[in-house]
Structures are given as structure tokens and as C-alpha cells.
Symmetry: C2
Subunit: 379 residues, 2 copies
């Protein structure tokens, strides 16, 4: 009968100093975001001065952020804050597609693209990747996938591109994909969960119609939170007003992130605008790291030259060790953790992804040294 | 070009010491929740040890909470954490009803019930309240509303009851409503946004099939966060697994509150379990306050005896002052704020709601004195 509940309080986050997990690297709060979290932590704190539309709240200046800074940052007509990239994708699909319609999406898409489509009752035609070792998605693949769906009498009402994808960190030529989709009269939604907040991105420049991003993944925000932007022509449907309750947007159920998470995104935003300017340095660091990994027999997969901090590696040497090591395939997790490093999923050895985002070269040297030591120990 | 961004950081929450806003009173964080927020603030922090299902994470003990403590606390078979009560209602409607179906809901329902139904493509037959001054919803009204929908050839697939409603704090006889709905073979969903975390509630006892609650409104959690519970027979559909991505629940898009909010709910949970035991004292305090308000000419609306801390008042005397006061109808907001009190919407004078939840009698005396002084000043 509801006993021993103290186990739910006073919980510590038990992670190593260097966390290589790609889904954590862009989500660490800035000092300003941390302060916002403490100041605005209570329940519904941002709603004290709401007069009916969360995105129109003037104190704190949510309206300026959502209707001013955010669309400008994304290079899109209209933007809103959502519970995350997946919720943004579902909202767009649910608003723009009918049950039974088809979407076309890249074979490297995050699982949540598939779930969003499934929840909206849509069928999916995938654009397959080139497979091992580069896993590339060609823009032309979108034309072929659309044609395949048409052959099955599918009504294709949206295309989705994951940019970059969350497995290999590949960056597809989004502008070409957009051109192809537009030739067929199909809007393109960009899932920029690993892009927005890390790298410069402008929806107008790459000509995408809808764009989603993730606050917890890449915008130094307390999750769950994301952004959803759309061109005016699609925004009208996605952000349509209720026919019954005035000023309430149906697809957002009135309002979304009614809590401190939004204030952390806003507090981090000035830093986010600055940090995307350093993107070429982040890419250079990732390439340098991958080269060093190669020297110890751990090979980068995905496109080359690589253009993102999220990288997928193949390590036959670590896999061979897993066959003889104590604790088997969990040796790598344990041995890295012993050296103050985490973020590679427990049990993985032969293939794994990691991110170098915002890690210093000194920290990355420690990571390289750890891999070297571990391989050397079992040699 | 993205200038003056500092306005988004270092924002202070500018509220008075005594906040009477009903949607704030149950959301103030406990000290344990505040500590959790700081510890788990980063992005996706709870996901370090996720192996594919958020609600099965063992470190932190999310699985114990979601699959153990939470269903027991709600008195229901299965529970999940959602982005809020509205998102829980939409998930249940979207999973259990078909576009074009009808739902029946109380005329006092929160606007989000209407939005959730509209988003799911459902039509609504309302159970009207008795109107001024008690605004009561009768259980029999549900039978009449269902019959009206049937007369219009409506396929009624869900009933919703707001418990209590968010305007008057009225508590409908849920068990009788459930019995009536079940006679028609219709499941009843209880919107307990102002109940769960404040008052004792047990879904099995009142025989409801689906139940939603709000973490930011009533469970001392950092929003947005809510809970969604269902009987096994409905849980199967609501929490159905993807046909494409294994172990991922479609309606939740895989996982929902992947951030610190969940840890604040867990950290507050031991206090929540305790505080609902003090509910009769909260009700007694609300009644005492309403009686004192009556003595200065401000009259409680809604059911009597009143059974909730959320109360709706009518004040002809304040309305009359608004016609002569400087700043007109904004005088009340300003004059209360000058006395360290906020939470009544700016501009309201004739009718407004407030909550006494977790306020001390000393603080409430200050509120009463403030009203007295303000009325006296303009007399």
C-alpha cells in the first residue's frame, strides 16, 4: 500500500564526467537556463500573466520569442514551441494528411517519424540508404519512392527528411530533396532534432516547408520541448484555431510547454545563436577525432567527409574482446565508466554511436586514451 | 537580425507572495522536487540508462513509479505519464474513438476537453449545468445527453466528466455518472486535473474507466506533465505497441516526459500521498473562507456545501467600484497586488475564481482583510 516512497526522492544522476551520448551533448543547460529552471520551476509558473494564448504571453516575453526570435532563427514564416520534435512531426502530419495517405521518408529516419505517421494513420514509403558503410540517402531516392507509392495508388501528402539522421549523422542534400518533392507538389518536413541549436540552418534557404527541432537534444533546454515551424501556407492548417473555443489552436490543444522548460529554452537562446556560429570548428573536431579513432582500429561509418558531431563507429577489435572479456559484451561500458566516460549504450562493442559536441580536445584525448588502454589491456 | 536576445535570460517571476490562482496552488514544487529539478535539469537527463522504453527505466526508478506506485495511487490497472491532462484526454479519445463519433461531456468541462475532441475529429453533446447560481451537473443529464446524441444518429463512444470542474469547483456524483454510462456501454473518462494530488481519489471505487490528472496543476510537479490511467480493457488500445517499431507505444509516440519534470513528480510523490489525507481540512478551510467572504458581500457560486478549494465568487460591490475607480476594472488587481496578493485575473471584478489550497488561515486572513480594506476605501 504505497510504501517506501522515499526511493522516488533524493535521486542523484549517476553519470560519468564525460558523456558521449549524442542525445545528451546538445541538451546540457547553460548557466542562464539553470537559473531559469530554479526561478520558474513551479507547476504552471509561466501562466501567471496569460490571457488565453500561451504564445502571446508578454511577461515573461514568450510572444517576442515565439513570434519574433524563433521564426527568424529558423528562417520560417511561423513557429511554435512543442513538446519535442516527435510531437511537432505528429502535429504537422495530423493537420496536413488524411488517414490512409502516404508519406515518403528517409530510411535513416528516427523511430519517432514512423510512430508519428502510424499514430496519424499514414503509410510510409522509405527511401533506402546505400547501406554499409556509408548509409547515404540520395535526393533522387525521393523521386523513386514517390513513384513507388504512386504505383500502389498511394496519395502521397508529405515527405520527411531527417537532417542529419540520428544513427550516422549523415547530412542529405535537403535543397535537392525539397526541389524533387515540390516537383510532385509534396511539402517537405525537415526533422532537425540534431541540427537546430547545433548548426546554422535556414528553412527558407533550403526550401523546406515545415521544420521541427528538439530543445532537449540540441537547444540546451530542459525537456521535453521542441520547436515547430512552417511556411504560412501550411501554418494555417497546422496552427488552425478551434471552431468552438476562440484563440485556441486545436493541434496544440491550446498550449504546449506550459512550464519552466520554455524559459530554459529562452534563457539558452542567446548562447544558442552564438554557438551555431562555431559549427565549422565542431565539424573539424569530429573529423580529427574520427581520424584518431581509425588509428586504433575503430572505423567511422557514414558519409565521408563527415559533417556532424554525431558519429557511428565500427570496432571489430572491441567485438573480439567481448568474446573473451569478463562480463562479456559489457566490458566496454564498465571499462569506460572506470575512466570517467559514459554514453555508449551498455552491451554495445561492435557498433556504436557517440558525439563529440562541445567536448574539449583535452576531454577527447582522454576518450582516445581510454580506448587505447582498453584495447591494449586485452591484447 | 536576432538582436537584444538578453531579454530572454535572467527573467524573474514577478508574482505576489500570496498567489490565489487555482492553477498555481497545487503546482508549487516541494523542496524535494526543487532538488530534483536542479539535479536532472539537463535536456534528456533521465534517458542515460534507457534501453528503449522510458517507463521501464530502472535508474532512476521510473518503472517502479509508473508501473507500481502510480496505478496504485490512482486505483487503476495501468498508468503512464503524459505531457498533461489534455494530452492524456486526446490520447484516450484518439485511441478509443473514430473520427465522426460523438462524446458526451459536462457543460462545465475545461476548454481542453473540447479541443481534444475537436482534434480527434469528434462531435460533442454537452450535459448542461443547472446555471446560475449553482451550475450543477446532474448524473441523469448524462443519460439525456446520450439519448440526444442517439436521436441525431450519433455513435457515442466516450463520456467525459470534469471532476471537479475548473470554474466552480463542483464535484459531480461520478459513480452515478459511471453507472449510467455503463448502462449504455460507454466508457467514462474522468478529468481529475484539480483532483489527483489534492484529494483522495480511486478510479476503481468510482468505477471510471479512464482517468487523467495534471502534474503541474495538482501534483507539485514542474510542467508540462500529467498522468493517464486506464482499465486493462482500454489500456490495451491506448497503450498499443507499434506494428513497426518494437516496444514503442504509438499513442505516446514512444515516450512522453523525457526530462526533469518526471523526476519532480516522483520527488513530490511521497508528499502528495500524504497531503491528500488532509483533504477534509482543506475543504473546511475553503468553506470558512467563503463564509467570511460572504460577510463582506462577496458570494460563493457553485454547489453548496462546497467540496473543493477552487471557488467561484460573485461580487456586485467590487463591480460597482470598477465603474468609479481610477484604472476602472483593473483596480482590484492593482489594489490586491499592492497588498501582496495576486492570482485573480487582471480586469475581473464582478466574477472571479480563486483557490485557498495550501494557504494558511493567517494568509487567508490577510486576503480577507485586503478585500475589506479595498471595499472600505471606495465606500
Amino acid at each position: 500500500m504505497l510504501e517506501n516512497l522515499d526511493k522516488f526522492a533524493n535521486l542523484r544522476r549517476d553519470v560519468a564526467k564525460i558523456n558521449l551520448d549524442p542525445l545528451q551533448r546538445g541538451g546540457f543547460l547553460t548557466p542562464a537556463a539553470r537559473a531559469a529552471l530554479v526561478e520558474w520551476g513551479d507547476g504552471y509558473s509561466i501562466c501567471d500573466f496569460c490571457s488565453g494564448s500561451m504564445d502571446r504571453i508578454k511577461n515573461p516575453p514568450i510572444e517576442d520569442f515565439v513570434h519574433g526570435a524563433l521564426p527568424e532563427f529558423l528562417g520560417i514564416d511561423e513557429a511554435r514551441v512543442t513538446h519535442g520534435a516527435r510531437e511537432g512531426m505528429f502535429s504537422a502530419m495530423h493537420a496536413l494528411c488524411q488517414g490512409g495517405d502516404w508519406i515518403v521518408c528517409d530510411g535513416n529516419a528516427h523511430y519517432t517519424t514512423v510512430l508519428a505517421a502510424e499514430r496519424a494513420g499514414l503509410r510510409i514509403e522509405f527511401v533506402p540508404s546505400s547501406g554499409d558503410p556509408n548509409y547515404q540517402i540520395s535526393a533522387e531516392g525521393y523521386a523513386e519512392a514517390i513513384e513507388r507509392a504512386y504505383e500502389r495508388k498511394g496519395n502521397v501528402t508529405m515527405a520527411v527528411l531527417t537532417y542529419p539522421d540520428g544513427n550516422y549523422g549523415n547530412i542529405v542534400e535537403a535543397k535537392r530533396v525539397a526541389d524533387i518533392c515540390h516537383d510532385y507538389g509534396i511539402p517537405l518536413m525537415l526533422n532537425g532534432a540534431y541540427a537546430i541549436g547545433r548548426m546554422p540552418i535556414d528553412a527558407h534557404n533550403i526550401d523546406v516547408d515545415i521544420i521541427v527541432g528538439s530543445g532537449h537534444k540540441s537547444m540546451a533546454s530542459c525537456g521535453p520541448i521542441g520547436v515547430l515551424g512552417a511556411l504560412e501556407e501550411y501554418a494555417r492548417a497546422i496552427f488552425r484555431i478551434s471552431s468552438i473555443k476562440k484563440n485556441k489552436e486545436v493541434e496544440l490543444l491550446g498550449c504546449t510547454v506550459r512550464g519552466a522548460g520554455l524559459l530554459t529554452m529562452m534563457a539558452s537562446f542567446p548562447s544558442i545563436v552564438e554557438r551555431v556560429k562555431d559549427w565549422s570548428e565542431e565539424v573539424a573536431k569530429a573529423r580529427w577525432f574520427a581520424e584518431r579513432m581509425s588509428e586504433i582500429g575503430i572505423e567511422l561509418q557514414g558519409e565521408r567527409p563527415h559533417r556532424h558531431d554525431l558519429m557511428f563507429f565500427k570496432a571489430d577489435n572491441l567485438y573480439n574482446i567481448s568474446k573473451i572479456a569478463k562480463k562479456g559484451r559489457y566490458f566496454l561500458y564498465r571499462d569506460l565508466k572506470d575512466r570517467g566516460i559514459c554514453g555508449i549504450k551498455p552491451g554495445l562493442t561492435r557498433q556504436f554511436k557517440l558525439s563529440t559536441y562541445l567536448l574539449t580536445r583535452e576531454d577527447l584525448e582522454k576518450v582516445l586514451k581510454a580506448f587505447e588502454e582498453i584495447i591494449g589491456f586485452y591484447a
